[in-house]
């Protein structure tokens, strides 16, 4: 082998061509400059808001979208700034994120896992979304969280209440600000004991999917711990229109409490029909019969109308809170849209600001930098008092609200009232708690 024909000039030319050839694919993928998926290259950054715009949760999706739009305005320095004024972190200056103006695209989850994945995929691949936020179902949240993990995108969950989202299905790229079924149960059990006594027999109707199962497991364990007995647990199909066949057997079951582990239209229908069956007028075992709805929502309470009156449940947040952050958000939202925000709107708004703040503090949009900035992050001023984004499972820990249907509503938004703000310490649990076991965050995936 001879190198006699290889000149110095030839070597440089060959190296330059080879180098350009190797670099070309990388150059054509703009995001690869920074080593992560959808790295913003211009003067804007795109967020993807994936909410139910059709289907039975469309009203919740619409409210989430309103809040997300408001968050983008505040990030870009428009409007009154909302919670940016009360947020304990002062990294956000109202000039977008890392100096880039925030834009957004939206997708329709249809409250179906496959449709939600498809719309998130489209926003990531076609629109260059760097973060996905939103949703009103745990099935959707788990599916989209998995997709974001695989794609190297940050997922800031919306309304998802199943233990699994930050339990067995937790992912390093996924974060949940909303509370979960365990926390609802931990907050509710002492209030239920005080209100209805410790010798109660509970009959559960449970939506037959991931959220219903974990909700039932959590509330049954918590109420049994305060002395209640679980008489029966009946799984009901999703979107059942008529619950009469499931409600009728309760009358002679010996139960004196009905726990409705149902959400959305199912909650509205089951509660309405339970009231029609006269359950709340009954007296069993010498006690007044009671109904408990572990997860409340303002929009569902409005759908159930007067049937929610006096019924106890829990919420992540409510516009009636009087801390500065809640007041600022309710004012911004109320003045813009003429109605108070729901708790799903609140969680989406907060999640969007938290993501933006994490980027600012990390100094990058790189998902791994954002993950590092969010893990173990403690903040205040966004409702619910001091909050911790726990590093072990990416679950936010904060105060939980126990609510009751307003007995004498004074206006159309006066459907629920705050019974108790349960302190954070009472709803905390170990990351390896059996109800959350089997999950592994895995490694951060920057994609690209």
């Amino acid at each position: 082998m001879s190198f006699s024909k290889l000149t110095r000039r030839g070597l440089i030319k060959t190296s330059a061509v080879a180098g350009a050839g190797l670099a070309l694919p990388t150059y054509l993928r703009a995001d690869a400059h920074a080593g992560y998926t959808n790295a913003p290259t211009g003067d804007t950054v795109t967020l993807g808001f994936n909410v139910p715009q059709t289907g039975s949760y469309a009203e919740e999706g619409l409210d989430e979208l309103r809040a997300q739009e408001l968050a983008v305005q505040h990030l870009n320095g428009e409007g009154d700034g909302g919670m940016l004024n009360t947020f304990s972190s002062k990294a956000l200056k109202g000039n977008g994120i890392l100096g880039k103006k925030v834009t957004f695209v939206t997708g329709d989850t249809q409250t179906k896992s496959d449709a939600a994945r498809a719309s998130a995929q489209s926003m990531i691949q076609k629109d260059g979304a760097i973060m996905i936020n939103g949703g009103s179902s745990s099935g959707v949240a788990v599916a989209v969280q998995g997709l974001c993990q695989d794609s190297g995108i940050i997922f800031m969950a919306g309304l998802t209440h199943s233990n699994d989202t930050t339990g067995k299905d937790r992912k390093r790229n996924g974060f949940r600000h909303f509370f979960n079924a365990y926390m609802s149960a931990a907050a509710l059990a002492p209030v239920l004991k005080n209100a209805y006594g410790s010798e109660r027999r509970a009959y559960h109707l449970t939506a037959d999917y991931t959220w219903g199962w974990t909700q039932q497991e959590s509330i049954a364990a918590a109420t049994e711990a305060v002395g209640w007995e679980t008489v029966n647990n009946v799984l009901t199909p999703l979107q059942a229109t008529d619950f009469s066949a499931y409600l009728a057997p309760i009358q002679n079951s010996g139960a004196d409490v009905l726990v409705l582990n149902e959400y959305g239209g199912d909650m509205v229908n089951s509660l309405t029909q339970a009231v029609q069956f006269g359950l709340l007028d009954k007296e069993v075992n010498g006690k007044k019969f009671e109904i408990v709805v572990p997860l409340y929502s303002e929009l569902m309470a409005a759908g159930a109308g007067p049937n929610v009156q006096g019924v106890i449940g829990s919420m992540n947040w409510n516009w009636q809170l009087q801390d500065e952050g809640s007041k600022a958000f309710t004012k911004s939202f109320g003045e813009k849209y003429g109605r108070p925000p729901s708790n799903s709107a609140h969680t989406c708004y907060v999640q969007t600001l938290l993501y933006a703040d994490a980027c600012e503090r990390a100094g990058t949009f790189n998902p791994c930098g954002v993950v590092e900035a969010l893990e173990g992050f403690e903040f205040d001023g966004m409702g619910n008092g001091p909050v911790l984004y726990r590093a072990d499972d990416h679950q936010c820990f904060k105060d939980v609200l126990v609510m009751k249907g307003t007995e004498n509503p004074s206006n159309e938004y006066d459907t629920l009232e705050i019974v108790e703000v349960t302190p954070r310490a009472q709803v905390e649990y170990d990351p390896d708690h059996p109800m959350f076991a089997g999950g592994d965050l895995g490694e951060c995936n920057p994609g690209a």
């Binding site: 239209g265 509205v268 029609q276 409005a302």
Partner: protein
Amino acid sequence: MDAILLQIINGLDKGSAYALIALGLTLIFGTLGVVNFAHGALFMIGAFCSVTLQKILTISTISIDETQKDFLGRPLEVKTPIIENWFGPDIGGAIINWSVPLAIVFAIPVMLVIGYVMERGLIKHFYKRPHADQILVTFGLAIVLQEVIKYFYGANPIPTPAPDAFRGSFDFGALLGLDTALAYPYWRLVYFAFSAVIIAAVFAFLQFTTFGMVVRAGMADRETVGLLGIDIDRRFTIMFGIAAAVAGLAGVMYAPINSPNYHMGMDFLVLSFVVVVVGGMGSLPGAVLAGFMLGILQSFASMNEIKAILPGIDQIIIYVVAIIILLTRPRGLMGRKGVMEE
């Protein structure tokens, strides 16, 4: 025993809704030969007639109450229904309270017109097309109708309560001298009685009026009736309107049982088709019989004792029964020879 009794009563009101929808479907199929997938949407529109009348009756004047605050701390806007201003709070309040029964009067002309417009405007153009085309166009129409309702009323269920007089439940246990409670909501009993009246009225109309006789003759042999110089098409169009009104009335009275939402029609549609097929295509008594039978069977399948032996049976019982009946009686329970067989 009491549990069985309760599930029979339970099945009757569910069966009432199935029977009313299936009756309308069969009327349309028997007269016009059209497989109407928009029929569930007519049920839904009926329920929204209740919602609409409630909204009309609660149109309010707004006054500012400085002593109360809204959610932003501004003086509260107090709404007073105009009807209460006109008739006083007692009579006005009672009219609003009875909005669902009053909606029957409101819904009949509305549903007749909707049925007439649907038939003349769209469906008549598909009479000579294959059933697959009819299914596609009526299914598309159903989606359009539900999206229109969603646009105007939103996706959330809208509470539409029954009159206060019918709130609460009736204890069958006490009536029958049983020790156990067998409470059943008053409004569901009203719904069952209402359905029985509507079904009887439709049968009486077909059986005892000249118009009904001609329609029955047309259902049996359309060509011959036409040759006698009778404008059978016009009568069939009117029957479409009546079928729409029957579905609508089923929806009006169902509103207090399930808060109406835009997709409630789809929830009933598939089951109602199964009811029609089990009852026998084109057979009106078959539709009613199958409606009640499947309603009661579905209630029994939801019993905890049954589900403990066969988990999930409540979800599939109707289809299992449909398969068994179609295997043993291919024309359904009371199907006529020659219908859907050419």
